[in-house]
């Protein structure tokens, strides 16, 4: 009971201790996730010219979609533009590390893949990159989550997660959703 100044101080110290304890718990769990489980906010600073995005470099049309690199790394490249993702559907294998690389040709967009921790902004002039492992198969919705204009609500793509046995890239290492 706070009947004297000393009691008030003691109660405030106790309250501050509890608050610090809560912050400590949250901080420890975040550190554990980052260091032990490799869960980090996507962080990548890589510049490119949005004006020539479709003409040169990795985001030209033949390079878009999923490709298995020579070292077995699965990379999916997507261009975000008002008001669509190109390609509209990408196929990725389940239980294998996938690198999503996105860039915007016009304004700021953002993506999330439903049911996963994939969530990033796509800023023109930069490459947004997310590494992840998809854990269940199925068609996952990937909407634009950064208001980008009047057609924003119609802007979405699909991520088709297939079992590894059904993930069959062609001779060039490309895989697509098919007809």
């Amino acid at each position: 009971m706070a009947s004297t100044e000393h009691d008030v101080e003691r109660s405030e110290l106790r309250w501050a201790g509890a608050a610090l304890g809560f912050v400590g718990i949250i901080f420890a769990l975040t550190l554990f996730a980052a260091l032990a489980l490799q869960r980090n906010p996507p962080s990548n600073v890589e510049r490119l010219d949005p004006k020539s995005l479709h003409l040169t470099g990795e985001f030209t049309e033949p390079n878009l979609g999923t490709r298995v690199e020579g070292n077995g790394q699965v990379t999916t490249r997507i261009v975000a533009t008002q008001f669509a993702f190109v390609p509209q559907c990408v196929v990725v294998p389940e239980g294998r590390e996938v690198t999503l690389r996105l860039s915007s040709a016009d304004v700021i967009h953002g993506i999330l893949v439903t049911g996963t921790n994939v969530n990033t902004m796509v800023v023109p002039g930069y490459v947004a990159q997310v590494h992840t492992v998809f854990q269940r198969t199925g068609d996952l919705l990937m909407p634009c989550h950064e208001f980008c204009g009047l057609g924003h609500s119609q802007m979405y793509a699909r991520v088709r997660v297939v079992p590894q046995s059904e993930f069959r890239p062609d001779a060039q290492g490309r895989a697509n959703c098919g007809p």
């Binding site: 608050a19 489980l37 490799q38 992840t132 998809f134």
Partner: protein, 59 residues
């Protein structure tokens, strides 16, 4: 100048009953704020353990 709320002949010191009420008040405030913060922490932990962790690696 006369105060319209406190009558001029009111006693200057608090009664025992008023003192008791003043002492008891912070206990309720602490309990209320404690429960509110605890509920927030539980909600954060539930989202972390049941949604964030099962959704897999990202980086």
């Amino acid at each position: 100048m006369s105060d319209p709320i406190v009558p001029a002949d009111a006693p200057e010191t608090l009664t025992q009953q008023q003192l008791h009420a003043l002492r008891a008040m912070p206990v309720g405030a602490l309990a209320l704020s404690g429960v509110a913060v605890l509920l927030l922490l539980i909600a954060w932990l539930l989202i972390y353990l049941l949604l964030y962790l099962p959704r897999g690696m990202v980086g």
